[in-house]
């Protein structure tokens, strides 16, 4: 007979009880974030795993900004912002599960998806387009999604990977006295072994051919905590510059290993995902002099950061556990991502009215996202992000970065906005997007031609 007091009986009883509770909560929780008149942002975040530093900083900043808008303004044009988190650990299959779980939440549906993972973004290209939910890949993503005619719902805002590569080459050229000075020089690109890392392989090869420098592209397998052989190879090549396209733990390990093989830190140029305090502090003295590009300079002096400190952290609603990370690279990028999402929503309100909008309506807002210097100043973010002008055909909208140097305690911005050669890249982006359209039987929508400076 079943005896609940025997060992086996109690194990079974506990298991039955636990599964009953789990099932109840599984069905009970699906109605959490869906209240009337609220705009819902699903957050596919990652707070554990090898990329937790990036995830906690970025999503912390995003949440902090949404909190600021709710506390200070009572929402966007009276519509309160809500959100919920789903842990992805930066893994594609978990990201897909999170997407499927969250896409039906919120009323009248999610505003936009911000997964902060190229791998997950790739898996969502189709789904987000079919479900009519904007997919935001700020500073990363698949480059040819910049062509909004083929990818109406995908937005690699501010800086796509190819623009980043072009800006790095332009900076190196500027430092040496012009693009013609690059001829014959050796440059090594050390990249993260993931879709994100591989995205720029053909573009560096193209730029090398165009400007006559020699490029060697070396992969560091994910997650990148072992780089001896790669840096020994770099030592043999003895390049002028190493372009570091790292992510997470790969960055400090690269800087430390570079020091070990005697490669000077000020000839390592980090990209947009190798530029946060979390990337350099663990490397200690090895990071001093290291240069990285950014379109989201660190610091707490910007008025918007001051407001977050005062109104959000001051009232105990801040998202970062470690207050010293406020204003770090990742956190700042999260705040900027918040600004862009909120402004897109505001622009969509001018067209559809001040109410909770669905993904299709928010897409209109992103498609018309236009922040000039004046608007950026009103937002208290002057110098924090470049002006951005998104159009139907151009979903990047900016393509400018600054270069900063680590002095051992803080980043010092060394340049003004350095621009990518977007005119050079645009035909390649269109060719790649059109190939995708042909392969997937997509008829590109009609957009005005992009006018690039």
């Amino acid at each position: 007979m079943f005896n609940p007091f025997s060992t086996r009986g109690s194990v079974i009883a506990a298991a039955v009880l636990a599964s009953a509770m789990l099932t109840a909560s599984a069905f009970g929780s699906s109605a959490t974030a869906a209240d009337h008149g609220e705009e819902y942002f699903p957050l596919q975040s990652y707070r554990v795993g090898p990329y937790a530093a990036g995830g906690t900083g970025f999503f912390g900043g995003f949440i902090d900004y949404m909190n600021l808008v709710n506390i200070r303004d009572g929402g966007v044009d009276g519509v309160k912002l809500t959100w919920s988190e789903c842990e992805t650990e930066y893994e594609v299959e978990r990201g897909v599960e999170c997407y499927e779980r969250m896409k039906t939440q919120g009323k009248p549906g999610p505003a936009a998806m911000n997964p902060l993972s190229v791998g997950i973004a790739y898996a969502l290209l189709d789904r987000a387009t079919t479900d009519k939910i904007p997919l935001i890949t700020i500073n990363h993503g698949r480059t040819d999604t910049t062509d909004g005619a083929v990818f109406p719902y995908i937005f690699p805002l501010l800086l796509n990977p190819w623009s980043e590569a072009s800006a790095m080459v332009n900076y190196a050229a500027g430092r040496d006295g012009g693009l013609d000075k690059l001829k014959g020089k050796n440059i090594v690109v050390l990249y993260h072994g993931s879709p994100y890392g591989k995205e720029t392989i053909p573009i560096f090869a193209m730029l090398a051919q165009k400007y006559g420098f020699n490029v060697t592209e070396i992969e560091v397998p994910h997650p990148g905590n072992e780089q001896e052989s790669q840096w020994l190879q770099i030592q043999r090549i003895a390049p002028e510059y190493v372009f570091l396209r790292g992510w997470g733990v790969m960055n400090p390990v690269a800087l430390k290993t570079a020091q070990k093989v005697g490669f000077p830190a000020d000839h390592i140029i980090g990209n947009i995902w190798s530029n946060s305090e979390e990337d350099v502090k663990p490397a200690g003295a090895a990071a001093v002099g290291y240069i990285a590009l950014t379109d989201h300079p660190s610091g707490t002096d910007f008025p918007v950061m001051q407001e977050i400190i005062k109104r959000v952290y001051g009232t105990g609603q801040g998202n970062l556990d470690d207050k010293s990370r406020i204003g770090s690279g990742y956190h700042t990028l999260g705040v900027i991502n918040g600004i862009l999402n909120v402004e897109a929503l505001r622009i969509a309100h001018t067209h559809f009215g001040d109410k909770a909008l669905d993904g299709e309506q928010v897409q209109w807002g992103f498609d018309h996202l236009d922040l000039d210097d004046k608007r950026i100043a009103q937002l208290g973010a002057t110098g924090l992000l470049p002006p951005i002008h998104v159009t139907c055909a151009d979903h990047e909208g900016a393509g400018a970065v600054k270069f900063q140097q680590w002095d051992g305690t803080k980043w010092v911005v060394k340049t003004g906005w350095v621009y990518a050669d977007r005119k050079l890249l645009r035909p390649l982006i269109e060719a790649s997007a059109n190939k995708y359209a042909a392969d997937h039987h997509i008829t590109p929508r009609a957009c005005d031609k992009v006018a690039l400076k």
């Binding site: 007979m1 086996r8 194990v11 599964s19 509770m21 789990l22 099932t23 909560s25 599984a26 009970g28 929780s29 959490t32 975040s45 707070r47 554990v48 937790a52 906690t56 919920s84 988190e85 789903c86 842990e87 650990e89 594609v92 299959e93 897909v96 599960e97 499927e100 779980r101 039906t104 190229v118 791998g119 790739y122 898996a123 290209l125 189709d126 789904r127 698949r142 480059t143 072994g193 993931s194 879709p195 994100y196 591989k198 995205e199 720029t200 392989i201 053909p202 573009i203 992969e219 994910h222 556990d321 995708y436 392969d439 997937h440 039987h441």
Partner: protein, 342 residues
């Protein structure tokens, strides 16, 4: 007719009812989440579990290279569909499975000399080698800059099975067919040879079982199953084909599925897959509902600990896996009180 019906055991009735529900009722529910987040990964991982179970559970050869063979299948099918557009989709699936089988034979060769942990290490080589090849030779991903390719549309006999329900039905049909084949195979002479080798290799050789042939056959068939599972994983579930996704982590998950579900059992692979897919999801939702104010990273870490603990408890309480747990439960329902041995 009635006599024939009467010979069907209650267990078979349950199976028939399950099939009717799976094919006729479930696809009509129109609940995308169920297909895209639960059923599709369960079917793909379950099939990979069967593949590994043929090798490990029946033939006794341990492997941590399952994900590598899944990758071979997925990239194989992608390239067949890309480069030979006239070939029907299902034929390209089978061809890709055969390539996975061939790769499986190559990496199975060391099993003729190596046993146990040493064999484990050599299958680990398969895992790393396949990923290395797929990462470094861009031809396999059609020279895509990021190495990630979007899975093409699947059109079978003129029907686009692109919807969630369509992909589910396709997967279900393929998986059930292969599961039935594996079930028959395990009870055939081939399966008996495998079990003989697993239980005592020397004795098996003495009674005339060709150890050489049986082991390589086990690697080939197991890799074929993994290859097809990889196709379903990449084409029907994730819908992107990417070498990084077929990592050692995935290989270990499949090994856990086999161990938790029950070694040398076809049903066990599915039970293990269901548990490994749904348990973390249930815990996540439970955590989110109860501790909504806590940092989601803390909840996530707590869940990982809990999943680990539950698996340990399960294996201590039931070392033969979920299959034997369910079998005893079933007997209790059908037979009533079991005689107690004390």
């Amino acid at each position: 007719m009635t006599a024939a019906l009467r010979t069907i055991a209650p267990r078979q009735w349950a199976l028939i009812a399950l099939l009717v529900v799976a094919f006729a009722v479930v696809p009509r529910l129109g609940f995308d989440y169920l297909f895209d987040a639960i059923l599709l990964p369960v079917l793909a991982l379950g099939l990979a579990g069967i593949g590994l179970n043929l090798l490990t559970g029946y033939a006794g050869q341990i492997s941590v290279g399952s994900a590598a063979f899944m990758a071979v299948g997925a990239f194989g099918a992608y390239n067949f569909m890309l480069r030979a557009p006239g070939v029907p989709v299902l034929v390209s699936f089978i061809l890709a499975g055969l390539i996975a089988a061939a790769v499986g034979i190559v990496f199975g060769l060391p099993s003729l000399r190596l046993k146990g942990f040493y064999l484990l290490v050599s299958t680990l080589a398969a895992q790393f080698f396949v990923q290395w090849v797929l990462t470094n030779f861009h031809w396999f991903a059609n020279d895509d800059p990021s190495g990630v390719v979007t899975a093409p549309q699947i059109v079978i006999a003129g029907i686009d099975v692109g919807t969630s329900a369509g992909r589910y039905v396709m997967c279900l049909a393929i998986v059930l067919l292969l599961a039935w084949a594996a079930h028959r195979l395990a009870r055939s002479q081939v399966g008996r040879n495998w079990i003989a080798i697993r239980d005592n290799e020397t004795a098996a050789a003495v009674i005339g079982d060709s150890v050489f042939r049986s082991k390589l056959l086990a690697f080939a068939i197991s890799s074929f199953y993994c290859g097809i599972a990889g196709i379903l994983w990449a084409f029907a579930y994730l819908r992107t084909v990417e070498s990084d996704g077929f990592s050692l982590d995935l290989s270990f998950r499949i090994l856990f599925i086999v161990i938790i579900g029950g070694l040398a059992s076809i049903r066990g692979a599915f039970l293990g897959a269901v548990l490994l897919v749904t348990l973390p999801l249930l815990l996540t939702r439970f955590g989110a509902a109860v501790f909504s104010s806590t940092n989601s990273g803390v909840i996530e870490l707590a869940e990982m600990i809990l999943v680990g603990l539950l698996i340990i408890v399960l294996l201590i309480a039931e070392p033969d896996g979920l299959v034997s747990l369910i079998d005893r439960g079933w007997k209790r329902i059908i037979v009533g009180r079991l005689p107690r041995i004390s």
